[in-house]
Amino acid sequence: MNNIITLSNVSYTYNRGTPLEKKALNQTSLSIDKGEFVAIIGHTGSGKSTLIQHMNGLLKPEEGSIVIDGQDTQGKGLKELRKKVGIVFQYPEHQLFEESVYKDIEFGLLKHNIPEEERKKRILETASILELSDELLEKSPYELSGGQKRRAAIAGILVLQPEILVLDEPVAGLDPAGCKELFNIVLQLHKTKKITVILVSHSMEIVADYANRIIVMENGQIVMDGLVNEIFSREDELRSINLSVPQIAKLMQLLNKKDSTINSQIFTVDKAYEEILKKVKKIHD
C-alpha cells in the first residue's frame, strides 16, 4: 500500500479576527492510501468541507501541511494537483455553463491544454461511463433532467482522469434509483481504474454499502477513524455526536443481544440476509 494523501496537523480558521471567527480544522492529521474508498461523516459544520477543500489546494492550511502524491499543496503546480484530485462539490450541476454538454465537459481539458484528439477521445469515453448519450452531449446542459445534469457535471471532473475522486454529497436530491445508478458508476471506476474515492455523505446506508473505511469528524477534528464494521459497532459513541448507524446495524445488534452467536458487525441487507439464513439453516438441521 502506498500513501497518496497525508495531512499533518492541519489547522484552518474562517473569518479570523471577526465576530464570526470559526476554527474549522484543528490539528487534523490523516493519511489515505492509494485505492481506498473512504467515507467522511459528521454533521454540518464539523469540518468535512473544509477538509476536502484542502485536498486540491482550494484552501491552504494555516498550520501543518498536506502532501498529495508527494506534492505539498503550499508549493507550485496547483493546476497539476487539481487534475490529480477531482472534487465534485454538492449540487455540481450549478457549475454547468457552456452551450452544450460536450463543451462543458471539455472545459477542464482546455484549461489543462490537452490536444484536441485526446480531448475528444476522453470526452466520449467519460460520457459512455456516465451513460450520457451522443444526443445528450449536443444538448444545452439546461435542457437535461436533474439526474442527467448531475452526471454531466461529474463527467466534467472525471474527464480529467483524476487519481483521487472526492465526492461531496453526490446524490443529494436524487431519488433512490438515480442514487444507485450513480454509485454503481463510482464503484465501477473505483474497482476498474483503482481510483481513490473520498465520499462525504450523510447517509449511513450509502456509507455502509460502498465505503471500506470511515472517518468521523466533529468540531474540526477526526474523532474516529477505522474500517466500516469497526466504526458502526461503536453506536453509542456515534450517537453521542448525533450520528446514527444503518437500520440493519441496529437490528443485528438487537439480535446479537438475544443470541450472541449472531454476528453483530453486519451493516448491509445482503450480509444480514446471509447471516440469518445461516442461523436458520442450523436450527432446521
Binding site: T44, G146, A172, Q247, L251, L254, L255, V269, A272, I276
Partner: protein, 282 residues
Amino acid sequence: MKTINPLIETNDVSYIYQNNQHPKKAVDKITLSIKQGEYIAMLGRNGSGKSTLARLLNALLIPSEGEVLVLSKSADNEEDLWFIRKRIGMIFQNPDNQIIGTTVEEDIAFGPENLGVKQQEIKNRVTKALTDVGILDLRERAPHMLSGGQKQKVGIAAVLAMHPMCIIMDESTSMLDPLGREELLQVVSELNRKDNITIINITHHMEEATLANRVIIINDGKIIEDGTPNDVFTDVKKITQIGLDVPQVTLLLYKLQQAGYLDKVDAITVEQAYERIVKILE
C-alpha cells in the same frame, strides 16, 4: 377547526405543462380525498408529478382538467383562491429561495401582512409561530446566518402565522442534514398531533414516510399506492420496480420471505423486524 367535509378533494384532476412543443401530462386523472388532521407522506421518483400535484392542492397551479376543492371551495373564484392559499400553506425544497424577509421575524410577518392583519396582531402571530416551532431565539437573525434546518423551521413558522389547516412540504428535507431533518420532522409531527394540522410531506426518504399515518405513492402522474405505511412498504416488489426504496429491514424480510422462511412481510421498523426474525430463529 372541525370539519365534516374532507379538507381537500380532487376529482379526476389532470395537469399538462404546455412549455415547448412537447406538452407533458404531469398529473393524470388523480382522485384523492384528504381529511383534516391526516399526516401524509407522498413518495415518487423525480418527475413523477408529485410536486405538480402539491401545487394543484394550494392553487399555485390551476388544473387543466378536473377540479380541486378545498373545504368545498374551488380556485376558479378569485376570492376563494386566496382563501385556499391561506389555508393550505407550503414550504419548498430550497430553504433559501422562500425567505423574503431580511430577518426571521420580518419573513414570518410577510404572510400576515399580505392578508392585511393588524399590526399588533401580526406581532402576536409572529411570536406565537416562533414559539410553536421553537426558534424564538432566532427572531432577529438574518436568514443567511441560519443553518438549513433552521431556515426550513422559519418556513414552517411563516406558514403557521397565516393560520393554515394544512402544511405541504415539497421535498423540504432534501437539502437538510440528518439532524436538521429530524428536528424539522419533529416540529411537524408536533403540529399534527397538538394542533391537528394536516401534514403532506413530499419526500424521497423512506424513513420519513414511516412517520406518517398514510403513504401515497405517485408514478407517472398517477397514484399507484395509497394506504398505511405498513401496507404500502410491505409491497416490496411494486415499490422497488418503480425505482423507490423500502426500509432496509423491510427489504431483509422480503428476501427471507422469497427464500420461504416468512409467510408475509409486515415490518417497517427495527423493532417489528426484530420480533419477526426472532420468531424464525426459534
